[in-house]
Amino acid sequence: MDFIAILAAGVASGTILAIAAIGEIFAERSGVLNLGVEGMMLVGAVAAFSIAVSTGSPWLGVLVAMLAAGLLSQLHAVMTIHFRADQVVSGLALTFLGTGLARVLGEGLSSARDVTLVGRTTIPLLADVPVIGPIFFTDQSTLTYAAYLLVPIASIWIARTRPGLHLRAVGESPAAADAQGIRVYVTRYAYVFVGGVLAGLAGAAISVAIYPGWFGDQTVNGRGWIAIGLVIFAQWSPVRAALGALLFGAIFRFIIDIQGVGTILGFQSPFTAGSSANFLLGMLPYVLVIVVVVIGSREAVRKRVGAPAALGRPYVRGERGA
């Protein structure tokens, strides 16, 4: 088993999760829980692929995917911010809508072949660094490199900039932010949009870059939900989310690769091609999400930090005061 190759492929797979998770981190940091990530990723994936097929330009597909998912997110935003709807139910509705929409738009798409994909490159110099080079900087999709940049940008934006301070205030104590003249609603709309755009990007990364093609619901296959779980594990930190995404990416890859192997540590591997035991193996990522979410929750309790304090609650400027 070529571990380097597995990890490199794991990085690619993790990219998708990282982008979606960071998008959700932005939304949740502003106080809005958006459970519609799976639906938005599906819409992004189908939009990117279908545009790439019909126009031959994957990058146009990526752009459209980001816009489409961003627009979709605003539906949830209006419902929860201005109309104060329950954020959980609205997010679920968004998932249903996105899933259905993607199915409708994806009619007849999967048979399309010969699609130009987003290019892959190797970064010179960095690719020569031992271990890290071959894993992170060799023959990865351009979108993966974009994700590498996204992580520090997101992290610095949130922690070290003035807009980041305002974002955190809106998510922790919107009343305080409002009293200081920060536009709470506008901030929330904006960051939910960012979350949607990134979810769309993640979906596009699947269908026109890393796992090309459109396979109906299977295209995303629960990764949107895993991303949401990752946000909890990451304690709303982009860097931690990226690390978690890397872990999951490696696991996804590992599951596929181990199915070809004959023996594990000298024992006969039950996970041969076609074996039903592979289904048990497939449970691993989902069980791991549960484990990871439990860890994140316990940590939050122990360290007395945790979710942005106002997460999930609509903000109403107190008309009747205290």
């Binding site: 922790e172 932010a177 200081q180 930090v305």
Partner: protein, 540 residues
């Protein structure tokens, strides 16, 4: 007590005096209505430069509403506002602050998880993009020391005491160059010594040329600090800008309530019975995992009211929660023979504890359930309400109706949802429910907070009647006056410990105030609160 006509206010120096400088702030004919209540009814108000102007009135008189309008939070339905003589119409607090008018609210608008500096900087357009923690901290520290407001810029808000948080709120306004400051019930959360410090700060800011509005319902403080006083009642102004120098507590009380208000309570001497509540060596942490109670012990006997005097944040909420089994602790809490520490709330209830909680809407009642459903909350596990697994609807409704009538809970019917009730009626509901179980021990936490005078009287009468009936009562309150009027003994709670215990007859408000803020030994008065004539003054 004369319940007759309105008191005639002294000859008005109300309004901008002819030939006087333009008022810093003026409101004319302000009208504001909320569903079901006319909060401001053609209100006029003016504020002169460099003065401290008190806005006095009881809860619900419309003072906060008026100030929220001036500060840009609400829009008036009618009327106009002039700043330095120019008409203004603020559409948001930000516009008001930009114009130099800021408000320190009763409930602070601070972000608990962020630092003092971050809170002060919040909402500003500087720093432009990159945060510079060190430079900003220094700037805030400098500003703080210039006005004698001691606070650590790097501290996170949740680590600060309430008094320190208030200083941060003031700092926020000063940092933005506010010339007019509105303080909404600023002393509600402070002990007498902290109040004195705050008064000094206000005076120095006024001397600096800033104008201050001081909203309060406490006559003594208002007389101590204000240059002029405006009194509001039921949404109208009953005395506009009268000079504080000539006013008496009696006059002001009449203007506030329409009659002279003296809480003369009929507290009969009672021989207390056996010990009902026995707290020994209790230690507990608060929600932030910081120590809230430290090896605390106390006892309450049947037929006795033990008052707990404490400044907010010294463990009183945690004490009530430990006794009612809502919070784990180390040590022992016994109600009669039953140990309730670390047991279930059901155990405490069965042991005969009634709890009138601080949070009426979040804990004491269930907002979307009906009055009936709320009233059976403590009785639904036993007959006659319970019939095996089922709830006897008729019995429940009968009981609910009975309680509603007996305790005069004003609501359309027992099917009305609890959230539609006013604060006073909600409290009546809670008290009705809790007393109906015939408890051995009552734990009442801030029972009269935010209530109008009528409701306050009801609560006080009820507590005294329960006392006569032999219930042991633990009364936790921030209102020292209330404790002095009701309690047989007063214990002072400071940083999780009982630091003083006084029989009511010999309790001295200065001493208690001192202990509440951790100062000195009990006994031996300090030179304190020199300039508060209202404390011992006329007619109390």
């Amino acid at each position: 007590m004369t319940d007759a006509a309105e008191a005639t206010p002294p000859p008005p120096e109300a309004g901008p005096a002819a030939g006087a400088p333009v008022p810093a702030l003026e409101a004319r004919g302000i009208v504001k209505a909320f569903p079901g209540v006319l909060a401001n009814d053609a209100v006029d108000f003016d504020l002169r430069p460099g003065e401290i102007h008190a806005l006095l009135g009881e809860n619900g008189a419309g003072k906060s509403t008026l100030m929220n309008i001036l500060a840009g939070l609400y829009r008036p339905d009618a009327g106009e506002i002039l700043l330095d003589g120019r008409p203004v119409a603020f559409r948001s607090p930000r516009e008001a602050i930009a114009a130099g008018l800021g408000m320190v609210h009763q409930h602070f608008t601070l972000v608990p998880s962020q630092t003092v500096t971050e809170n002060v900087l919040l909402g500003l357009s500087k720093p432009r993009f990159w945060l510079r923690p060190a430079a900003s901290d220094a700037e805030v520290a400098g500003l703080a020391s210039r006005y004698g407001l001691k606070v650590d810029p790097e501290a996170r808000i949740w680590q600060l005491s309430v008094g320190e948080q208030q200083r941060v709120e003031i700092l926020k306004l000063l940092y933005r160059g506010a010339r007019i400051l509105i303080m909404d019930e600023p002393t509600a959360v402070l002990a007498p010594q902290e109040i004195e410090a705050m008064m000094r700060t206000l005076r120095s800011m006024a001397a600096d040329g800033r104008s201050i509005v001081f909203i309060s319902h406490k006559l003594g403080e208002v007389l101590a600090i204000a240059d002029r006083i405006t009194v509001m009642r039921h949404g109208r102004v009953t005395a506009a800008g009268i000079p504080a120098a000539g006013a008496t507590r009696t006059d002001l009380a009449k203007l506030m309530v329409g009659r002279a208000v003296f809480d003369v309570l009929d507290r009969a001497p009672i021989e207390p019975g056996p010990v009902v509540l026995d707290v020994r060596g209790v230690s507990a942490e608060n929600d932030r995992a910081l120590p809230a109670l430290r090896d605390l012990s106390l006892q309450v006997r049947a037929g006795e009211i033990l008052g707990i005097a404490a400044v907010a944040g010294n463990g009183q909420s945690e004490l009530a929660e430990v006794i009612t089994a809502l919070r784990p602790c180390r040590g022992s809490v016994r109600i009669g023979d039953q140990e309730v520490a670390n047991r279930s709330t059901a155990t405490a209830i069965k042991a005969g504890v009634a709890h009138v909680p601080e949070d009426r809407t979040g804990v004491g009642t269930s907002p979307n359930l009906s009055l009936a459903d709320n009233l059976i909350m403590k009785r639904y596990t036993a007959p006659p309400i319970a019939r095996g697994w089922f709830i006897d609807d008729d019995a429940a409704r009968h009981m609910a109706q009975g309680l509603k009538d007996t305790y005069s809970i004003a609501a359309p019917s027992i099917d009305t949802e609890a959230r539609l009730l006013s604060g006073g009626n909600l409290q009546r509901l809670i008290i009705a429910r809790e007393i109906d179980t015939g408890p051995r021990l009552m734990v009442a936490v801030q029972p009269t907070r935010g209530l109008d005078v009528g409701a306050i009287e009801t609560v006080h009468m009820t507590l005294l009647r329960r006392r006569e009936a032999g219930t042991a009562i633990l009364l936790i309150s921030e209102e020292l006056d209330e404790l002095l009027a009701l309690a047989d003994r007063i214990a002072v709670l400071y940083e999780g410990r009982i630091v003083g215990m006084f029989p009511a007859e010999t309790a001295d408000i200065h001493e208690i105030g001192l202990l509440m803020t951790g100062g000195g030994d009990p006994g031996g008065p300090e030179a304190v609160t020199a300039a508060t004539p209202g404390a011992s003054g006329d007619g109390a």
